[in-house]
Subunit: 296 residues, 2 copies
Amino acid sequence: MSKINNVAIVGGTHGNEFSGVYLINKWQQHPQLIARPSLKVETVFANPKAHGENKRYIDADLNRQFSASNLADFSLANYEQSRAKALHQQLGPKSKPNMDLVIDLHNTTSNMGPTLILLEQTPFYKQLAAYVTMQMPEAVVFLDEPEEDMSNHRFLASCGKYGVLIEVGPQPQSVLRQDVLEQMEQMTGHILDFVELYNQQDLPELPKQVEAFLYLDSIKLPLNDKGERLAMVHSNVQDNDYQPINTGDPIFRTFMGEDICYQGEKTVYPAFINEAAYYDNDLAMSLLDKVYLELE
Amino acid sequence: MSKINNVAIVGGTHGNEFSGVYLINKWQQHPQLIARPSLKVETVFANPKAHGENKRYIDADLNRQFSASNLADFSLANYEQSRAKALHQQLGPKSKPNMDLVIDLHNTTSNMGPTLILLEQTPFYKQLAAYVTMQMPEAVVFLDEPEEDMSNHRFLASCGKYGVLIEVGPQPQSVLRQDVLEQMEQMTGHILDFVELYNQQDLPELPKQVEAFLYLDSIKLPLNDKGERLAMVHSNVQDNDYQPINTGDPIFRTFMGEDICYQGEKTVYPAFINEAAYYDNDLAMSLLDKVYLELE
């Protein structure tokens, strides 16, 4: 087992997700709040320009720019494509990362509560998920779509040897809610505590199994042939992130008042329901499978 | 009593408040839904350019551009200042309005439910408020800050002989919620029904008194001498629009965990709590007085 020595906590990857921006600022002024004896912890403000303009991004979504091919292509030169290359120098490179762990802080307008998103399912991640949910039972574990390997992953957190996202909602863009900020702060603290105990080989007894939700697919709002929306997310689904959707359940309501029902054969669990940032591409929600992480 | 002949329903005055934009679109395709026998009802898409860019506004808040002095000053030439002059031609002029009633549709990220905002407190408005709250008991009546006269009012709705806003939340910017859209559609329908009955002199018996909330003031978040925020809206206040705040109640929480309490001597009622659009100017909430409208 190799120790985790260097940790980066990243805020403002999306400029209008305020909790991370304000927490980073607080921790820069009070670094003792994130200090742990065996770690060097630093804070990074990922997209200050987008935050200054109160937008998710200036030219392109920063959290989709970290695949090996994007990072190697210097003709990709807009603000976020350039910022990604700089952040990859600072946090990575992926081949030999400066950072053993990257914690990337995000908000969603969806009712997802405090969610821990894991990029992989190796023993380190499973133990982390077990510890965090033991300390914070309201936390949800979300397993990102498996990538062939981390070098092709598009997320900022993939720059580190290990990478996680903390995703907390519901919070409208450009708003700071006390409850959401506190949940993000608590989950960050539990992750840092875990890493300290992991380094000291002093972890408490962890559960053998952890419930998690595995990303399957995203579904779009119904559109007409001009690309105009015909329906909204159904009120039965709205705010019910992680609650089961079964075959035949209504998931959309047309503007004329008709229900459109889920046709899949398997029970699925939605997240990012009606997320504001996904409106450009007409995404309605992500669909997840409920799975269990087995610890050794 | 003079009849109401021409009514304009306006959506998209703020480009990222989606309910009005989608309702206008629906009613343009199905005008029978807003038709009433004694009325000519038209729909107006106030700020299509801002909606196209998924923003509240391009250059300036359109709903602050309708004072007589702004409308007369042709050196004020940015997009919204120009658009305001065009809308004033279409809906006004205030001296002799084309529209007897302007209904302007808005969303808020605050938990204000379906709110009817009245620009004045004349008998027509009081009867309207009484009818709408009788049909829709969850509706809240909000009395705008009294202006010296309507010619100086900055809101779009002041272009009409009468003007109201329908303000429904909570809904994040750029999101369409079924519940919020339905409340906006219902309230619009009740207003049109009222006008039809008013024209026919066939109003039902109305309550003699209607509870309402009168705008007093707006308060800002606590800032340091660099203009940086020191605190957030307190979780005791968050989402509790229209619930009383008494002397000594905590209203802010500093980032270091201390409570800041309300110092006013009089009980007040907040609205627009933590509204995303007011974050540029650090407004935390509006404070209102609870009053009663007396019908003759």
